[in-house]
């Protein structure tokens, strides 16, 4: 359903993505791994049109979305959870969900906001709180909840585990598992190797703006060289 | 950071092109035959209305002479000083250096007048002011190259102060724009008023051309405990302040009294009934029954389909004084241009507002000042009814030069 072909992206003169290819199919969870500066976040930003690619193509649900403005890309059914979570400090929890719900044309569940409060009871308790008053974990839940109310065909998450306590990460893993199980495909950038390998069916390893490895999760776990070269200590 | 030599080359090139371009601007050859008069008026802004009338009056005067002096055609070159001294200076320079005018006429604002008086003196360019009533123009800033064909503020407003004191008014609060003419007019009133037993309790000055809402000043004035507000405003500022005075319901509490600029004919449409029954001093009104005036009013009416206001009369006098002087000089601007002004000084002529004579500092003196009331005439239109009349007062001293 999502196909990325030969993506080349620049920040000014700096050639960050040097021909990235990847694809996500229905009901699949795909993880993009790699070190800092490998181009993972940039790949996501290029897909979403936040940092438009200079060359290459992004096709989503058979529509070429490469040159579309971000809000149109999102409207076509992609929801995004950014690395910094993108919580608005002066907006209440409820309003976060309402804005996202109001912006999406599709209204899949009858009461999506209530549904989010069901999954994250903590958010229901804090529905009147401002974004700036939430803890890191609560912010992450809200960011995911906000993505869910739009009823997306694809969810893109950028390092959802970053900066969270291990306990919260466990909870997060469970939630993401649920979402995956419910049939929404996920595209995930993650530094937490454990979380990524738990969730993902298929893995891409990026380095220097290029895909260095693509394969199912098992084959990555089996491949010590790749892990050593591109992932960690 | 340091500029490259390429940069220099570019600059040089640009400079050279600029120079070549500026050098190729044709310099205006002096047209033989025509006498050029630079007419500088604030055609835009708060004094746009009087400026337009002056221009019209000026034209009527020139037409009376067939737009010719001793056979030489007269050419008017207009410039807008925007009531801003710095702009006036630029326009003056253009008159002198580019248009090569023989003399400069016009100028309403005393602020512009003060700035130009020095310049005219340094450039030895005759300058015949139409308004610029501030006493300093022919006092502190007097020059053998400067004349004023109207009158000084003191010559006019002193009579006003005298009149209101004689009417039993004991106390007044004054309001005026804070610039030379405003201060001069209010000063003239104050001298006349206090010399005759009145007392000015408070003087309120509003920033010239800046104030649009007079509510704060009017409230203060109403609270001063004086019997009347005496004000000098003109054009748009006058409309504004009279209207707001009424808005605040002060007409029954403290009358707002002004002169013929506050209640100018040109402002009647905007003021409506607010102008009715206003009593004020005037140097001219259309129904003065002299032959010269009736002739002027007729000519003006024929051309512009309306009665002339005081500014038109002053513009007419300005043009007429210039034409009479030129006639006397045989249609030639003398080599020593101060002679033009001294010739004008020796003139005496009949004008719609009375006999015009000049004093030693080249300022026209007022023969008389009228007190009039605005009333509804038999045709339902507003008109002026004469009430009283005074001799014009003298100018203030201050000129230290002799010529």
């Amino acid at each position: 359903m999502l196909k990325v072909e030969h993506l080349h992206t620049y920040y000014g003169e700096s050639h960050v993505l040097q021909g990235v290819d990847l694809s996500v199919t229905t009901a699949q969870c795909v993880a993009v791994l790699g070190r800092n500066g490998a181009g993972k976040t940039t790949t996501l930003r290029s897909i979403l049109g936040l940092t438009p690619a200079r060359r290459g193509r992004v096709v989503f649900n058979e529509i070429d979305i490469t040159r579309l403005p971000t809000h149109r890309i999102v409207k076509s059914g992609i929801a995004f959870v950014p690395e910094d979570r993108g919580i608005f400090p002066t907006v209440t929890v409820e309003e976060h969900l309402a804005i996202a719900y109001g912006a999406s044309k599709r209204r899949p569940r009858r009461k999506p906001i209530e549904y989010v409060f069901e999954i994250f009871p903590r958010l229901a308790e804090r529905r009147k709180s401002l974004g700036g008053q939430l803890s890191g974990g609560e912010q992450q839940m809200l960011a995911i909840g906000r993505a869910l109310v739009a009823g997306p065909d694809l969810m893109i998450l950028d390092e959802p585990s970053e900066g969270l306590a291990p306990v919260i990460i466990e909870k997060l893993e469970a939630v993401l598992m649920d979402i995956k199980a419910s049939g929404t495909p996920l595209l995930l950038v993650e530094q937490n190797y454990h979380l990524a390998t738990q969730l993902a069916d298929y893995v891409y390893v990026l380095s220097q703006g290029r895909v260095q490895f693509a394969g199912d999760t098992k084959s990555l776990i089996a491949n010590d060289d790749i892990r050593r070269m591109y992932l960690s200590v | 950071m340091a500029m490259s030599f390429k940069g220099y080359a570019l600059i040089g090139l640009t400079g050279a092109i600029g120079l070549a371009a500026s050098a190729s601007v044709p310099t205006y050859a002096q047209e033989k035959g025509a006498i050029k008069i630079g007419l500088m008026l604030p055609y835009k802004g708060v004094y746009a209305v009087p400026a337009e009338s002056i221009d019209r009056g000026f034209q009527i005067a020139l037409e009376e002479f067939g737009n010719k002096s001793n056979g030489r055609p007269i050419e008017i070159i207009r410039a807008d000083d925007e009531l801003t001294p710095s702009v006036g200076v630029q326009r003056f320079n253009k008159f002198v250096q580019s248009d090569k005018v023989a003399l400069v006429a016009g100028v309403v604002g005393s602020n512009v007048g003060i700035a130009l008086s020095e310049l005219a003196d340094k450039n030895k360019m005759p300058m015949v002011f139409v308004n610029a009533f501030a006493d300093e123009i022919t006092g502190k800033f007097c020059s053998p190259y400067i004349a004023r064909t109207s009158f000084s503020a003191n010559g006019f407003e002193y009579a006003s102060g005298k009149y209101w004191a004689s009417k039993g008014v004991k106390t007044a609060v004054t309001m005026g724009p804070d610039y030379s003419a405003g201060r001069a007019f209010i000063g003239g009133f104050k001298r006349g008023f206090e010399d005759n037993g009145g007392k000015v309790i408070e003087e309120i000055w509003t920033p010239f051309q800046k104030t649009k809402d007079y509510s704060a000043a009017l409230t203060q004035a109403a609270n001063s405990g004086a019997q009347i507000i005496y004000a000098f405003y003109a054009g748009a500022e006058a409309i504004q302040v009279v209207k707001q005075h009424a808005d605040f319901g002060l007409r029954t509490k403290i009358p707002f009294i002004g002169d013929h600029w506050v209640y100018d004919e040109a402002l009647w449409p905007a003021l409506g009934d607010l102008a009715l029954n206003a009593q004020h001093v005037a140097t001219h009104y259309p129904s003065i029954e002299t032959e010269v005036n009736q002739k002027f009013v007729k000519a003006y009416n024929a051309k512009y389909k309306q009665d002339p206001d005081v500014s038109a009369a002053l513009g007419y006098d300005n043009g007429k004084a210039i034409m009479l002087t030129l006639e006397k000089l045989g249609g030639e601007m003398p080599q020593d241009r101060a002679k033009f002004i001294s010739t004008m000084r020796d003139l005496t002529f009949d004008s719609p507002r009375g006999k015009i004579k000049f004093n030693a500092q080249n300022s026209a003196l007022l023969e008389k000042v009228y007190v009039v009331e605005i009333v509804k005439g038999p045709d339902g239109k507003m008109q002026r009814k004469p009430l009283d009349q005074f001799p014009g007062a003298g100018d203030l001293p201050g000129c230290t030069k002799s010529f």
């Binding site: - | 205006y28 200076v89 630029q90 320079n93 580019s98 800033f141 610039y179």
Partner: protein, 334 residues
């Protein structure tokens, strides 16, 4: 002092490698000299009015150069520089007309006083940056503008007249003569330009450029950035005041309009038209400004309209200004 100079010149001869320069350096120098001659000879082949315009251009150019030091070199966009133009004019007027000092005392005293006033103002203003800086400089200039209108001893909004031009009777000339005044302004303009050139190529000037490029980096290099910004502010003020002195001599008077924010805006525009951070940019900008304004006011009463549009186009499409654009064009072709 002289020992220092000798030392440095020795070092220059010894240690410094000659910088690679284009062979045509001499040609450029020759061109500059030609322009110089052209400007000197100008009065002999143009009308008095063109000379008057040239005087206006040079005065505006000095004013814009002061703004350029602050805006183009230090990167601080001010909308209040006209206050220093006014300070220059009022300083000279107060010195000569009120205090009765001769011009040659009034002028330097004015410049010193302007620097002394500008430094604390600069210290306050440079605590802010960007839009806030723009607005606080505007507020300061409006404050002085308002004060000048209200002050009785400077004649309020009427301003002060009788400002003397330099007494050149020793040379047998009168500065009231337009040609003589032209040369006087030319000399001051060239001196100001040389001074500015000295400043921007000096170590101090290179710090200012560094601040424009990246203030944080300059701090972390060890520069007390705040002091340099204040220095730049005060120097710019002095240059603007020089223009103010000339302007008031040119018109023989000064009034509060010299400090209006429109005046500041026009100065900034000249810098943008000519090209910021190029030493001659402001002069080119001033020339374009004065000539276009003059031409427009001859053609139409509504030069505000055309001027506003001109302003917008320049800002939107010619960021480098005239010089910058020409230079970019040539750069592209090479």
């Amino acid at each position: 002092m002289s020992a220092d100079v000798m030392l440095t010149s020795e070092r220059r001869a010894g240690a410094m490698k000659p910088l690679p320069l284009p062979a045509s350096r001499r040609a450029y120098a020759a061109l500059l000299v030609t322009i110089g001659f052209g400007l000197c000879a100008l009065p002999s082949f143009v009308s008095g009015y063109v000379m008057t315009l040239a005087v206006e251009v040079m005065i505006a150019g000095i004013f814009a150069s002061g703004i350029n030091l602050l805006t183009g070199y230090t990167g601080l966009v001010s909308l209040g520089q006209a206050m220093f133009l006014g300070f220059g004019g009022y300083g000279i007027a107060i010195g000569t007309a009120l205090l009765g000092w001769p011009l040659w005392i009034s002028a330097p005293v004015t410049l010193v006083v302007v620097a002394a006033i500008a430094a604390p103002i600069g210290a306050i203003c440079t605590r802010t940056r960007g839009v806030e800086f723009l607005l606080i400089t505007l507020a300061f200039s409006q404050m002085f503008y308002g004060a000048a209108i209200k002050l009785r001893w400077t004649n309020g909004s009427d301003g002060m007249t009788g400002i003397p031009r330099p007494d050149l009777s020793l040379l047998g000339m009168s500065a009231d003569n337009p040609t003589v005044f032209y040369y006087y302004v030319l000399v001051v303009a060239v001196l100001s330009l040389l001074m500015l050139w000295r400043i921007v190529t000096s170590p101090f000037g290179s710090v200012l450029v560094g601040i424009r490029e990246n203030e944080r980096r300059m701090m972390s290099m060890g520069y007390a950035v705040a002091n340099y910004k204040v220095g730049s502010f005060a120097l710019a003020a002095v240059i603007c005041a020089v223009a103010g002195i000339l302007q008031s001599q040119y018109t023989y008077f000064v009034n509060p309009d010299a400090m209006s924010w429109q005046m500041s805006g026009e100065g900034v525009l000249m810098v943008i038209i000519g090209g910021a951070n190029v030493i001659l940019g402001p002069f080119v900008g001033a020339a374009v400004f004065v000539v276009v304004k003059q031409a427009l006011s001859m053609i139409t009463e509504e030069y505000n309209l055309f001027f506003g549009i001109f302003f917008m186009l320049v800002v939107a499409f010619f960021r480098g200004g005239v010089l910058g654009s020409i230079s970019a064009l040539i750069g592209k072709r090479q």
